[in-house]
Symmetry: C2
Subunit: 390 residues, 2 copies
């Protein structure tokens, strides 16, 4: 079982803290946005006397409400096509276990969310990365790259849309390319849409809207990021494939039920005022615009302007971003503060890729982001491993 690549920096952060240095945590996807008060109130105002097991697939009332939410996004699913899970994490694990046998292969465009590796190991599934790159802004790799590595053991593709760690928002055209591939080779298409509400350039086109591959598509969802409710541990697996639903339900029954309070929180989210996402999205877009501009203004730094989520991948003028991320924590501070980034290499399955890249989560407000960028700028001026780019 691989250790989380982001956790490797924790001892360095502890050194910084022990010296009294403030750390801007741009390394993890824990937003500073408040959980909507209406959701927390729903839990706090609950009146039941016994916290019972819910249905293993989640409370029917919640599944019906979640269906309403998807219908607003032109995704029509019945509540029986939704299984509530303990976070998006469990939905991914259940999906892998239900659809792939031990030794089967899953293709993932890299860089990708590092925990996909962990769930693949748990399910005995082999990850086959294909590379996207910073030059194209991390667009979908061309179909021939998929074709090249598809074998008889290939059973699935997983994408994250919009993407963690790149922020890339797949176009409808790219989704159609994926549809052609999964149809041709009869693959499952896992679509992790944790950040589906945070799209800044164009519309989100969901895998659930693809026609003709209804049996192939499995959507993974979570309330963690959408409503800044990471600690609730409420996600969902959505598919129109009845066989997959039946198998996932068996896994769900073995673990009895998803968390009770979290389901109350999730159900209350559906009744939030319609402008909730508008406000949250505007805040994230302001942060993205600020961050991307600041990054590209630093000599030698390059950052594509991503269409969604709340992450960017940037390349830095350094020998090795892993070493730089350690150094900035351990040996540098500016105005009493330093920055924690997630080294890019941890998001690639192929060795030696992403070695000059970092993932930056814009989970702090603009003022903090500006201060963090001041710190990065000054750090790069004095970092001993700085390299000169043409």
């Amino acid at each position: 079982m691989p250790a989380s690549p982001i956790r490797r920096l924790v001892p360095y952060a502890e050194v910084a803290k022990s010296k009294g240095v403030k750390i801007f945590h741009l390394n993890i996807g824990q937003p500073d946005i408040e959980t909507p008060a209406e959701m927390l109130e729903a839990v706090r105002n609950s009146t039941f006397k016994i916290l019972e097991y819910s249905h293993s697939a989640g409370n029917e009332s919640y599944r019906r409400k979640l269906g309403e939410y998807y219908s607003l996004a032109n995704i029509n699913v019945d509540h029986n096509e939704i299984i509530i899970t303990t976070g998006g994490s469990e939905a991914i694990l259940f999906g892998f276990m239900a659809c792939l046998d031990v030794g089967d292969e899953i293709i993932i465009p890299e860089p990708f969310y590092a925990n996909y590796n962990g769930f693949a190991v748990e399910a005995g599934v082999i990850v086959k990365p294909i590379s996207s790159n910073i030059g194209t802004g991390f667009a979908l790799p061309p179909p021939e790259d998929f074709e090249k590595i598809i074998t008889e053991r290939t059973k699935a593709i997983i994408i994250c849309n919009p993407n963690n760690p790149t922020g890339y928002l797949y176009t409808k055209g790219e989704m159609e390319v994926l549809k052609t591939i999964v149809k041709k080779h009869n693959l499952y298409l896992f679509s992790d849409e944790a950040y589906r509400e945070f799209c800044y350039e164009g519309e989100h086109f969901s895998s659930m809207q693809l026609e003709g591959v209804e049996e192939n598509v499995i959507m993974i969802d979570t309330i963690s990021k959408r409503y800044s409710a990471c600690g609730a541990r409420i996600g969902a697996l959505i598919t129109r494939n009845k066989t997959v639903l039946q198998t996932v339900l068996k896994f769900a029954q073995a673990r009895l039920s998803p968390p009770g309070f979290g389901q109350i929180l999730g159900e209350a989210a559906i009744d939030l005022p319609l402008d909730y996402f508008k406000k949250t999205k505007a805040e994230y877009q302001l942060r993205r615009d600020t961050l991307v501009k600041r990054l590209n203004d630093i000599p030698g730094v390059f950052c594509p302007n991503p269409g969604g989520a709340f992450y960017v991948m940037a390349s830095l003028p350094v020998d090795n971003a892993d070493l730089f991320c350690e150094w900035i924590l351990e040996s540098f501070s500016y105005n009493g503060a330093t920055v924690m980034f997630a080294p890019g290499s941890g998001f690639y399955g192929s060795p030696s890729l992403g070695q000059r890249e970092v993932r930056i989560a814009y989970v702090l407000n603009v003022q903090a982001l500006n201060a963090a960028m001041d710190c990065l700028e000054k750090a790069l001026e004095v970092y001993p491993g700085r390299i000169l780019l043409e």
Copy 2:
């Protein structure tokens, strides 16, 4: 992935309900006891504004308090030896995945909690049942039965103490027998202590109190039954084995964190008045005494008097308990009500065992239990598949 054996009866229960027949649910471990108000109030009075990820091992404050709880039971563990999990279910799965490779074998005295099968399948582990039987009250099988099936692939034994489904409470002597076996063959001993507070005959002796096998023992725990908080999904894995802790932590990190509200609930439990368990235990003991007497008073029924938990296994004078459990739901009622039991066969790994047994959960009050036993008594008088016992 096997389907839950208890769920098979659900369609028959729905037939009964559709006819307006009330069902006494003695088939599942969902108690009617109220969740302590102090625990629910802790959640309802919480004031945080962002429901963040907790530490992957659970909030440190909760782990420290849980350590205090165990020390009252003469189990001294550091908070770093506790990993908070999403229910006891996740603790079992993480334990299996951390300690056993695919194809390794685990010995389980049968009858056993049916979901152990599910977690074994998920972890790719092979279950090797050894039989305990109703004649001895489901005491631990003799050591030679263990020795007979231990192979080089055997890596662990799992017990549930006190036991689900039998209610059997293992004696200190039996625990010492297990210690000798795990020491001799260098096995892990998983000890599921979900019902540890509900012991009616003698003291609970925990696997964590065994001396000389500190590296072998992994305790599984949960707040679900102890505080009637099944829907919280809060459990724990406790071990002094550092390597196992490190590996389990990696699985915990991949799924990010256990549920946030549930941890607040669990932490508040440690501050309950000391007589909380006294009262709850007295209630369960009254139910057990009532149920066991009523069962043994019915001609042809035999039920040992179990020392703990809130289950009994009883043998009925019927051709086949699976068929009887279907029939009583589908074709029988008394005073407008019928009873749902869990057929015993679902708790055995060996085929053809337990075919005249049912598991009965005494999760309803004495009045309801008496009404359910009235119904069972009348049903057995007219059941077409009744057999005559000597």
